[in-house]
């Protein structure tokens, strides 16, 4: 396997570019009808296995664990090239979330048995954090795991569990004890979704897709060995700053896709002479330009420090709300096409106005609603006093 961490940036970029051009299926590219498309199910597995076999999987993982071991700046090149080739996004909780957690908090045994299975897609993971009464206030979670000496017995319910119906396993936050602080007594547990007592029910989202699920646990037996880190101390694991992973949620890539769509729709709708529309397009283009400048600055800063500062929560807020503003303009300039459910043709361009609008909605909710992010910004960065 080539050690890309030693290659020059240009060599690395060109090699990946050429390989993607040859191997990424054209029919899976992002398009005007699916500008924010995500691969899932069998497509996702097939693509991840192609990456694995060719030695391009897990850019951020260290080489000792089977990843590419890329520096942060090379990881940025990696993502730039995926974007350039219009590769659909992949949510792989195993690679992106669980892997780094196991490397930091797992036992050598857990690392050796689980990490290779993630890379080969033998285990497909989903993340079981939110519950019906624990959303933004995650620490209020109640799914219980009681030890009976040999196993944990899990009872409760998770919700908004993305791609649980595609997954074989869930890494979950469960309550193992009650203490003064509700953050205490939470443990990080690995659960096989094929165990007796697990039921997964898909939930349709407002775009018409079944992307997330409810997961019910009734007397599900989980071996003690599936506990990650120390009992009652799972909150710290969930909250652990996973280094640069936090920067990717602020990537301007999706806003660039949205702006490209807006520009296409303006062109095919004959709106280039409409001063109001062109002014709004210019404003959004400048918003994107300025946000890219901010993101670039924060990334450069991050290349020099292993832990980015608290101020980077602003990236998620700005990136998601920018993407939403652009999708709102697309909806407005598409005129009656905005009322069409599914595909529609504007001057020869196939679009799906409903889908892009709906898919731009949850980004400001998932991963901590933007209102909560603003609370964090106000307290951690602006040093405004906590309420109460």
């Amino acid at each position: 396997m080539i050690d890309w961490s030693c290659a020059s940036d240009d060599d690395f970029r060109l090699a990946l570019r050429n390989w993607l051009a040859q191997h990424y299926p054209i029919q899976w590219r992002l398009s005007a009808t699916r500008p924010f498309h995500r691969l899932r199910g069998q497509q996702k597995i097939s693509w991840l296995q192609t990456l694995q076999e060719a030695g391009w999987r897990a850019p951020a993982w260290p080489r000792e664990h089977g990843g590419l071991g890329l520096s942060f700046s090379k990881q940025r090149i990696y993502h730039e090239e995926l974007e350039r080739q219009q590769v659909a996004r992949v949510i792989d909780f195993g690679e992106q979330m669980l892997g780094p957690i196991l490397m930091a908090f797992g036992t050598p045994q857990q690392q050796q048995s689980l990490l290779p299975r993630i890379l080969r897609c033998e285990d497909i993971w989903c993340q079981g954090y939110s519950e019906p009464n624990a959303g933004s206030d995650l620490a209020s979670l109640r799914t219980a795991a009681i030890s009976d000496g040999t196993d944990f017995v899990v009872n409760g319910q998770k919700i908004w569990t993305t791609y649980a119906h595609d997954a074989t396993h869930v890494f979950a936050l469960v309550r193992t004890g009650r203490f003064e602080r509700k953050q205490q007594g939470i443990s990080f547990l690995l659960i096989d979704l094929r165990s007796a007592g697990v039921r997964v029910r898909p939930i349709m989202n407002i775009a018409g897709d079944e992307e997330y699920c409810e997961v019910f646990f009734t007397d599900v037996r989980v071996p003690q060995a599936n506990l990650v880190g120390r009992i009652h101390e799972g909150w710290a694991i969930a909250k652990a700053l996973l280094g640069h992973e936090r920067l990717w949620v602020g990537s301007p890539a999706m806003s660039r896709r949205a702006l490209a769509l807006a520009q296409q729709v303006v062109a095919v709708s004959g709106l280039k002479s409409d001063v109001t529309v062109m002014d709004r397009l210019a404003e959004l283009a400048a918003d994107l330009h300025d946000y890219e400048a901010l993101y670039e600055g924060v990334c450069r800063e991050a290349e020099q420090h292993s832990q980015p500062g608290a101020h980077i929560v602003m990236l998620k807020i700005l990136a998601t709300e920018l993407q939403q503003r652009i999708c709102e303009l697309v909806t407005e300039i598409a005129q009656e096409h905005a009322g069409v459910l599914g595909e529609s043709l504007i001057g020869g361009l196939a679009v799906d106005i409903h889908w892009q609008m709906m898919m731009s909605r949850p980004i400001s909710i998932f991963g901590g609603a933007n209102e909560v992010q603003r609370d964090i910004l106000a307290k951690a960065v602006l040093q405004l006093p906590a309420g109460g």
Partner: protein, 383 residues
């Protein structure tokens, strides 16, 4: 307190790694303003009404600030826009009225391209000594800051006819540099009091002045440069000033937000600090993010200009930065007036003063709409 350190001329090769020099400039500006400047100088009830401090201006010259955009061949330090912007940002932070951008940066940016004439040498010498000020007259209509369609003409016998608007600091200026258009554009020097020159002078919100000038066959003292290079030089000076104004407004917005945050932390109402209220926290968070974006935008523009002066991508970035900074300064200052409550409406607090400076800078050198349109146009051209 130690005296601020002057900036030495540096070789162009040190420009790229100019972070240290930039920090030096910022530190020296903070020091000087802390000891020599009080915002009371530009309040509505300040006396004298004209706050310009000739002694302070000389100190700025001695520190090398007025020559950061002057080439080394003229004893300048040629530090580029990243450094000029860093200084302008400090002027904005401390709300200093001395016309660094109009009478320091703009003449310095012009000088580099001018052929050797007595007038050019006098301007360069004044930028190093601070003994006299110079100003540039190029704009002919409100809201139109480009040099296209310049209607002022220079006759064959050296007389100027036409008009200019919103010319900064003519009351302080030793001489006025005027752009004439037509088939053979020219940059010429005229003096105040010359027959045929009519000046209509107005105070500005930072207690400086802008004047509308009319030229009725005004004899010029010297022609500094002719041909398209006259236009190109003025364009370059305007770009530099636009970037610096963006930096000024960013510094202004950031300092205003700090004032607001201090108020939200300390002011107790309903038995708790205002800053515990989520609606105010979120407003502050929004302003913080806007200011961070404004800062990133002017830094990006300065970096692009210093790497490729005059390029379409650099000019587009300058427009984006100017538009963003105007939004940041206006929004933050307007919010400050509101969030400081009754005090915000009192001239005693600095919120009104900040809003006044934002009104001046957000419109000077092109407003938000002008720059957003220019940004889109340049972006399309460079694509």
């Amino acid at each position: 307190m130690t005296d601020p350190a002057p900036v030495q001329a540096v070789a162009p090769s040190t420009r790229a790694g100019g972070a240290d020099i930039r920090q030096l400039l910022v530190d020296s500006a903070r020091q000087l303003f802390e000891s020599q400047h009080r915002s009371a100088r530009i309040k509505l009830n300040a006396a004298p009404a004209q706050p310009f401090d000739a002694q302070l201006w000389r100190q700025m010259a001695e520190l090398g600030w007025l020559a950061v955009a002057l080439p080394e061949s003229l004893q300048g330090s040629n530090l580029g826009l990243a450094c000029a912007g860093a200084l302008a940002e400090q002027f904005g932070r401390s709300r200093v009225p001395e016309p660094f951008i109009a009478c320091g940066l703009m003449p310095a940016a012009l000088c580099g391209g001018l052929p050797g004439t007595p007038a050019r040498d006098a301007i360069a010498a004044d930028l190093l000594s601070g003994d006299a000020l110079w100003t540039l007259a190029w704009q002919e209509h409100a809201g139109r800051v480009d040099t296209r369609n310049c209607a002022t003409r220079l006759s064959a016998d050296g007389r100027l006819t036409g008009h200019k608007v919103f010319v900064p600091n003519t009351d302080l200026a030793n001489g006025i540099l005027v752009l004439a258009g037509g088939g053979e554009p020219a940059l010429v020097l005229i003096r105040k009091g010359t027959p045929g020159l009519h000046m209509d002078t107005h105070p500005t919100t930072d207690r400086n002045t802008r004047a509308h000038l009319q030229f009725h066959a005004v004899p010029v003292e010297e022609v500094l440069v002719t041909g398209q290079s006259a236009v190109a030089l003025v364009n370059e000076a305007v770009e530099a000033a636009t970037l610096a104004s963006a930096a000024f407004q960013t510094g202004l917005a950031e300092s205003v937000l700090e004032q607001v945050l201090a108020h939200l932390r300390s002011r107790v109402q309903f038995g708790r600090p205002l800053g515990t209220l989520q609606t105010l926290q979120h407003r502050a968070a929004n302003l913080y993010m806007l200011n961070q974006v404004a800062r990133a935008s002017w830094h990006c523009a300065a970096e692009r200009w210093d790497a490729a002066p005059g390029s379409a991508t650099a000019c587009a970035a300058i427009s984006a930065a100017k538009a963003r900074a105007a939004q940041a300064a206006l929004d933050t200052a307007q919010a400050a007036v509101q969030l400081l409550g009754g005090l915000g409406f009192a001239e005693e607090a600095d919120a009104g003063l900040a809003l006044r400076l934002a009104m001046l800078h957000s419109s000077w050198l092109g407003g938000r709409r002008h720059h957003l349109r220019r940004f889109a146009e340049l972006l399309e051209r460079s694509a």
